[in-house]
């Protein structure tokens, strides 16, 4: 009877060899996926030919022939192409996303901190806000703002009038429009110089503090540089050249407004809806982030003699931000993606213009859907790439 050692090493049958199996599984999956894609593509080609629909991206250069009410670049139905319509839609999406992110962050942080307030009433109010907002579909909230609130506002003649400058009616919001004269460009330039100078000063002040222990009023200097410098430039130009910026104030003429800058009700509804909805989620992210900083950190900081403001700024917030930033970015992405619900209330964003009107007019579903998805994918992937870099830099370095 041979012992185990004397037996020839068991040659498993090829069927049971893990390496062979692994390769076989992957080959089968590849064949299935490629086969599916091939069948779908060839069916699509046959169907498109049968329906006499052109293919390729040539349609981007054809005249669009439809109007868009909110355009950030010059656009007209007769003279502009589908490609330009695409740019208009993309810009409208980005505008609502950026402004929405700005306000949602402010509102979200306010509500999130309010939920942690020691004041019972404030924290309960914040809780009610978060629960109501998070448990209702965004589409319903958008329709509510658009149909039940904005469309129910009075007409232009009975518009809500704030100081004869701002008018809120069912035509949207009317603001004074700035008109730029000579030298007006120096003001934003001064603003940028102010920001750069603040950064330089803050770094210098930090180095000084690390070297000598002396502290400089960085916050006050920042306010002075960033706000004061443009105002100073404005005043100087106003004194010597003439007011660089005048405002065209909207006036009621007949049944509608003349002049001014009109913000369309669709934009207002979408912005308010997206802001309040996302703020509910950001509030929860902020609350979780602050709660994640253990109490021992605050106690240790106060044992070292730091003042409450410093504890918050130097100990709690940097650690909370590490927890907050990743889910916060995904909320920003959600807001950007959710702006596609604009199609429900007729705000001309990318989806409404491109997947709606352009798709209906050209019938080139494959190209249109591919371009639209590529835009959102690019935004998502770029953001997550930046986030990965950030996470690697912020991650706790362990021994």
């Amino acid at each position: 009877m041979p012992t185990i050692a004397e037996q020839a090493p068991a040659r498993a049958s090829l069927l049971y060899d893990p390496k062979v199996r692994a390769i076989a599984y992957q080959v089968v999956l590849t064949v299935v996926v490629v086969g599916l894609i091939y069948t779908a593509a060839s069916n699509a080609v046959a169907n498109l030919r049968a329906a006499r629909i052109a293919s390729g991206f040539g349609f981007l250069n054809t005249t669009s022939g439809f109007d868009i009410n909110q355009t950030l670049i010059p656009y007209s139905a007769a003279g502009s192409t589908y490609g330009e319509a695409f740019i208009v839609g993309l810009l409208n999406t980005l505008v609502v996303a950026v402004i929405g992110i700005f306000f949602a962050t402010i509102l979200g942080f306010t509500v999130g901190i309010a939920r942690l307030s020691k004041n019972w009433m404030i924290s309960k109010l914040a809780m009610v806000y978060v629960e109501v907002i998070r448990n209702l579909p965004l589409l319903l909230q958008l329709l509510f703002w658009y149909v039940a609130v904005l469309a129910a506002l009075p007409g232009p003649r009975q518009a809500v009038n704030v100081g004869d400058m701002f008018f809120l009616s069912n035509r949207g919001l009317l603001l004074p429009a700035p008109i730029l004269h000579t030298g007006a460009r120096l003001i934003p330039a001064a603003f940028v110089i102010g920001i750069v100078a603040t950064i330089v000063f803050a770094r210098w002040a930090r180095r000084q503090q690390e070297a000598t222990g002396r502290q400089y009023p960085v916050g006050l200097t920042a306010v002075g540089l960033i706000l004061g410098l443009p105002i100073l430039v404005w005043l100087l130009i106003g004194l010597f050249v003439g007011n660089p910026i005048t405002f065209d104030v909207p006036r009621l003429q007949g049944f509608n407004f003349r002049g001014g800058m009109q913000v369309f009700p669709e934009f207002v509804a979408l912005l308010v809806g997206l802001t309040t909805y996302t703020a509910g989620f950001i509030a929860e992210v902020v609350r979780a982030g602050i709660l994640a900083v253990s109490k021992g950190q605050t106690e240790a900081a106060s044992a070292l003699g730091l003042r409450p403001g410093h504890i918050l700024r130097l100990v709690v917030i940097p650690q909370a931000m590490r927890v907050i930033i990743p889910p916060l970015t995904s909320q920003y992405l959600n807001l950007t993606k959710n702006s596609s619900l604009a199609v429900a209330i007729g705000y001309p964003d990318l989806v409404q213009i491109f997947m709606g009107t352009v798709l209906n007019q050209t019938g080139q579903a494959v190209e249109v859907v591919a371009i639209t998805m590529a835009v959102y994918l690019t935004i998502s992937l770029l953001t997550s790439a930046v986030m990965n870099v950030y996470n690697r830099r912020m991650a706790i370095v362990e021994r």
Binding site: Y25, T30, A50, M121, I122, R134, V343, Y376
Partner: protein, 383 residues
């Protein structure tokens, strides 16, 4: 030296008076002072909160209850000029349209089938969600295999059972909302598990396909997926094959939800310690046995809250099918609020209030459930 220490010595000769008792450390008044008026900042915050409550809540309560119209058969009951008083929510309108909101245009004589479908669904959901329910494995079989077939036969009809055929174009309202979200969860969970396993697979091609699918779907808005399903699905199929109008968004929703579900399940898989895998392998279990008997039961249990939260998101997202022309609850409200028979100033707000209550009850209930499960699963962690 000695003299100096002598002079510093102090011995109390007589007792000091007892300090006065701190006034009000318990009782409602003390609570109010402690929590609402403990300092100037706190007092200002309380006043702000009181002001917010004052401007927000009385109008809402007046709209929903005090000024609401509860009975009536047409718009006259809900118009201030004909009713003769301020009018809030027009519940009479909801009441008269209730069947439309629940069943859409489903034939009245066949609506018992929808009710039976709701009942079967409730049984399945209760069986799955009640963690101490008997024979939960059979519950899963019922919910993911038996129930979908039963529901399909019941709702569309079959000649064999002498149930008349009801085309999906007649379905609508809450029925469609429930159907879309049920299909979403029934398909998304198994697909999501497969995708999550694929993403953690050691085989590079399987992993790459899973990652591409998951990241692609998570990177685009649901509405573009729905548009894609609506316009491109018919293109991808051979000529002459038509896809049901309701089936297209269902495919889109199932694809979309499965990518999100995959990430939730992956979180659970990552939380299972390596020893569990090694133990299973040392017992001689193969890949599927290891996952089905050892890893997944533990992983799925810890991600129940995540699954429920994803489902809440899915349930809210089903409203988007309204944009591609499916008559879900939102679309039926949109269609009925322009009915001239019920044209009154508050009809829009009433319709949205009704939808809001429907969604809030379901989503809030599910989120409470998810919190309760989380607490129960964490019970073993507390010492």
């Amino acid at each position: 030296m000695n003299a100096a220490t002598e002079t510093l010595r102090f011995v109390r000769a007589q007792e000091v008076d007892a300090a006065p008792p701190p006034n009000l450390v318990r009782g409602p008044l003390a609570w109010i002072r402690e929590n609402l008026f403990s300092g100037p900042v706190n007092t200002i915050l309380t006043l702000i909160a009181l002001y917010l409550i004052y401007i927000l809540f009385p109008p809402i309560i007046r709209f929903l209850f005090i000024d609401a119209v509860w009975t009536g058969s047409n718009r006259d009951a809900c118009r201030p000029d004909t009713a003769g008083h301020a009018v809030g929510a027009c519940w009479a309108y909801i009441w008269s349209k209730l069947n439309y909101f629940i069943y859409g245009s489903y034939p009245a004589a066949e609506r018992w089938r929808v009710n039976l479908f709701f009942l079967l669904l409730a049984v399945g959901v209760a069986w799955m969600l009640w963690l101490d329910a008997p024979k939960r494995a059979w519950g899963a079989v019922y919910f993911f295999a038996v129930f979908p077939i039963l529901a399909f036969v019941l709702l569309t009809g079959s000649d064999w059972l002498r149930l008349s055929h009801v085309p999906t174009s007649l379905w609508g309202g809450i029925l469609v909302t429930i159907v879309v979200s049920t299909v979403g969860i029934v398909f998304a969970l198994p697909l999501g598990i497969v995708l999550a396993l694929g993403r953690r697979s050691k085989l590079p091609i399987i992993r790459i396909f899973s990652v591409i699918f998951i990241e692609f779907v998570r990177g685009v808005p649901l509405i573009t997926v729905l548009f894609m399903a609506n316009t491109m699905l018919p293109l991808f199929l051979p000529e002459g094959v038509t896809v049901d109008r309701l089936l297209r968004p269902l495919v889109g929703v199932a694809i979309f939800a499965s990518a999100y579900m995959a990430e939730v399940v992956r979180g659970g898989l990552q939380a299972i310690p390596k020893g569990q895998y090694e133990g299973a392998m040392s017992l001689g279990l193969n890949y599927w046995q290891m996952n089905v008997f050892i890893v997944l039961p533990q992983a799925l249990k810890i991600v129940i809250p995540g699954i429920v939260n994803t489902f809440i998101g899915l349930f809210k997202d089903t409203t988007l099918v309204a944009i591609v022309g499916i008559f879900d609850l939102i679309r039926t409200i949109e269609a009925s609020r322009v009915d001239p028979n019920w044209s009154a100033p508050t009809i829009n707000a009433t319709g949205y209030a009704f939808a809001a209550m429907f969604y809030f009850v379901f989503c809030w209930g599910m989120s409470r459930y998810s919190i309760a499960v989380e607490r129960r699963l964490a019970a073993g962690q507390h010492r």
